[in-house]
Symmetry: C3
């Protein structure tokens, strides 16, 4: 499987990195990470250049890592600063390092050429720091499926009617067409379901009893960040499409980390414009999200298993596939561009300026 | 591994198919099956042509299956009758279906070109419906071995002396030569052991105490059905070979379903000319068969493991291999004939007209 | 993975072989072994030439093995002496046999051309039978790592400072250079650490409290036998290098058996010049060795896993690698010589004539 290298990926929540050496795998590369004495998160190739032992099995000594086999020691820049038993250190004694940036309790890592890394390209939203909004960190969903399948699911409003009939969708949306915009950097798929019974999520949260107008806007930022803006408002309000903040509005964020060709970690969290500071509400929503994401996991892993089997004919594509199709094509084109060295500019800032 | 496609295989006992969707794998193809409202068993390709999700993970709605991902819905003919979110249904939206036929509580499936399926070709025996005979359904033996090894074992009277010394064979048969007939459609291997101690099976069942004449006739019907006619009679009767019905006579049937190149299901049952309607006798015989088949399983799986390892020299063939050799050659020839499109006629009726 | 075939390998301790058939795997070959009625250990190809069933699943009858499938029977020379159901035995009905030699309770097997086997080439030491020395058999360490990695670790005194800091090494040896001699048949790597704190092993065993002079001599005999001569003496004695017998001296022996390309068994034992006949001392030492070898296992298996992953650049070699480098080159050259049929002489006697 090929990946876009020149991009920021999520390595983990800030809480996952402390003094101890930890091993993460991203784009099939093993990386040792730790929080240095100045608080910065460090990421280095997790393999001693001598006998290949993962450095994560070694010992941290100050801000250096000592290999657990013969004691070769590397500083945070990847340079070898000690080889026991000899005085000189050859130039080939080093490990690769990765640019890391931490923001809003999320640790991002740049997997491509270090000189192209630009922290302004990292996904961001003003609501992260807006006091009228509440940010709540969720958990990490481990999926035995490749990231393209996972991402595709996150620009696909149509599946919720069938995969999540008790939480995020219900029968009233089954036949509502999906709008797709692929003009900008961000692929957007959305639909409104007006004057219908509230979905399970908003029966439990938001206290809706009568009919509502509800919306789903799926924003997919290449390569691996999805934001789903969804919410409900009393049908009597007849809410205009660009006044969604007047309803109960939630941004569900998904940060996908491609681990291997058949393994993806989806770290999820949400921002909401209601119940600010209300921990019980956060817990209630996490519980509902977990039900829904377990449903996705089952589907996405089954699809991966089928993709691993022989194909007799090409899969068909249907109307709702416009977003996924454009996503896959863009990924293919970017991978090809990197492969052919025609790198051009790194991916431009892609956080959405939603209404 | 290659298989003969234009043939009937056993998909399961009738009792295995009910309202619920169930997934079976035959010749490495995944198939979703269920019993429709008219009682017929339906078999369809277990993969939605859109995003490949197995339809067996979907939902049955009347006599249609709704895919669990985006709700595409297929009727029993494999035709897509609904794509949520759009009005037109493209011609490419379909799944393959398989001819199915049920007889004597056994569900047969045709794995090749549907127009060649002919239910008259399905294995049958008059004894299934003969009131002087008792038919008793056994169980399913799952073998991590390819079907050629399993079938070979079922046209091989010689192995019972060594593999089943306490149940189906004993030392007195070790050196008795095996006769083989390969003239007709059915490969037959047989031997008589006259005036010897009864085998364990007929010590427990049949009440023989003195010496017996006993026989084993192995009939192998291509591709995957075996019938073993075995029995015993008091030596004093000096039973002619064609009057076996005067002894205690059992037809052990084996329906092999090739699942994958290293996996075969062997559904077994028996017909007998004694103890008609006697459930205790059925249970006693099942218990003895299970001991014997567990012994086969151990051998056949070990052989498969060895076949997966490198070979330094060609295996040798010995006198008793005539039946297996002809079987393997016929299978190879039929597979090759299908591969080269020189299909000729489908396999002719092969149920044995035994004496 | 390629192996040197024309060499003696350890098949097991003498205690591992008795009347019952047992299966061992060496150099990826499956071998059935048993102790014949005359006490000799027999080793034969563990695969019937007919249907490939491992003979170890058969039955021993006197000094023959009867295959568990059709009763073909082989004597200790590998010759087939019976094929049930036929009188003639074709020449192709045989299994390979392997020369075996037992000495000091160790069973050696020759994996190459039988006519080249010479028991004088088997590793030996006079101390095995010297009454001033005590031989104690240890256990078998199963390592998911190829034998080259395991052997390399046994000609590498430098790793003990980092891998075994509480048992076989400590910080005072970290920077002491390693001497290597590769002139003779045996590769030797050694170092002395003078006037330093005793290592954990000799704090527990030997009763050293003050500073000691200590040594490590690693002798690696191709292809797969290692002897580590290590010990300690009171610093006040100022022990000359060639009078190590005046200190507490231990020969740790490692017999590596390459099972598969990623699996090696390391049978370990020791000889010592002290506590002769003292079982409690033996147990105490075994306990310490087990701690150390578990540390090696963790490292060696992690290295193997990394070797199985893609390599972006060639590993670097450092000063302490001289022994391992020469070892790997010699193995490669011998494998190549066998491959090209330029076999020359079998490996000459390689047991060390230590001082």
């Amino acid at each position: 499987m090929e990946y876009i290298k020149n991009a920021w990926y999520v390595a983990g929540w800030s809480s996952e990195f402390a003094d101890a050496l930890c091993k993460v795998t991203i784009l099939e590369e093993n990386i040792v990470m730790f929080r240095a004495s100045n608080g910065e998160v460090i990421a280095m190739e997790d393999r001693c250049p001598h006998r290949l032992l993962p450095l994560s099995r070694g010992k941290r000594i100050g801000d250096t890592i000592q290999c657990g086999y013969h004691g070769m020691t590397f500083d945070c820049s990847g340079k070898c600063v000690r080889i026991p038993g000899q005085d000189n250190v050859p130039k080939s004694a080093y490990v690769e390092t990765y640019p890391v940036h931490e923001r809003h309790n999320i640790v991002w890592i740049w997997m491509g050429e270090p000189e192209l890394a630009n922290v302004d390209d990292i996904f961001d939203l003003p609501e992260f720091t807006d006091p009228k909004w509440h940010a709540h960190q969720g958990e990490a969903l481990h999926l035995k499926s490749n990231y393209l399948n996972v991402a595709e699911n996150l620009v696909d409003p149509a599946h919720v009617s069938f995969v999540h009939p008790t939480t995020l969708g219900n029968a009233s949306s089954e036949n509502v067409p999906v709008h797709v915009s692929t003009k900008g950097e961000v692929i957007v798929a959305w639909r409104w379901i007006r004057d219908s019974e509230p979905i399970g999520f908003f029966q439990n949260f938001g206290g809706f009893t009568g009919n509502v107008d509800r919306w789903h806007y799926y924003y997919l930022h290449l390569p691996c960040t999805a934001m789903i803006d969804f919410g409900s408002a009393d049908t009597k309000l007849n809410l205009p499409e660009d006044e969604r903040d007047k309803g109960v509005r939630i941004f569900a964020l998904h940060f996908m980390t491609p681990v291997r060709s058949d393994y993806t970690i989806d770290r999820w969290m949400h921002l909401r414009n209601t119940a600010v500071g209300d921990d019980a509400a956060s817990k209630q929503m996490d519980a509902m999200f977990k039900v829904a994401f377990a449903e996705d996991k089952e589907i996405l892993e089954a699809v991966q298993q089928e993709e691993n089997r022989p194909q007799k004919r090409r899969p068909i594509r249907i109307a709702i596939d416009k977003g996924p199709n454009v996503y896959r094509k863009r990924i293919r084109d970017l991978v090809e561009a990197e492969r052919t060295q025609d790198l051009g500019e790194p991916i431009a800032p892609t956080f959405v300026h939603h209404e």
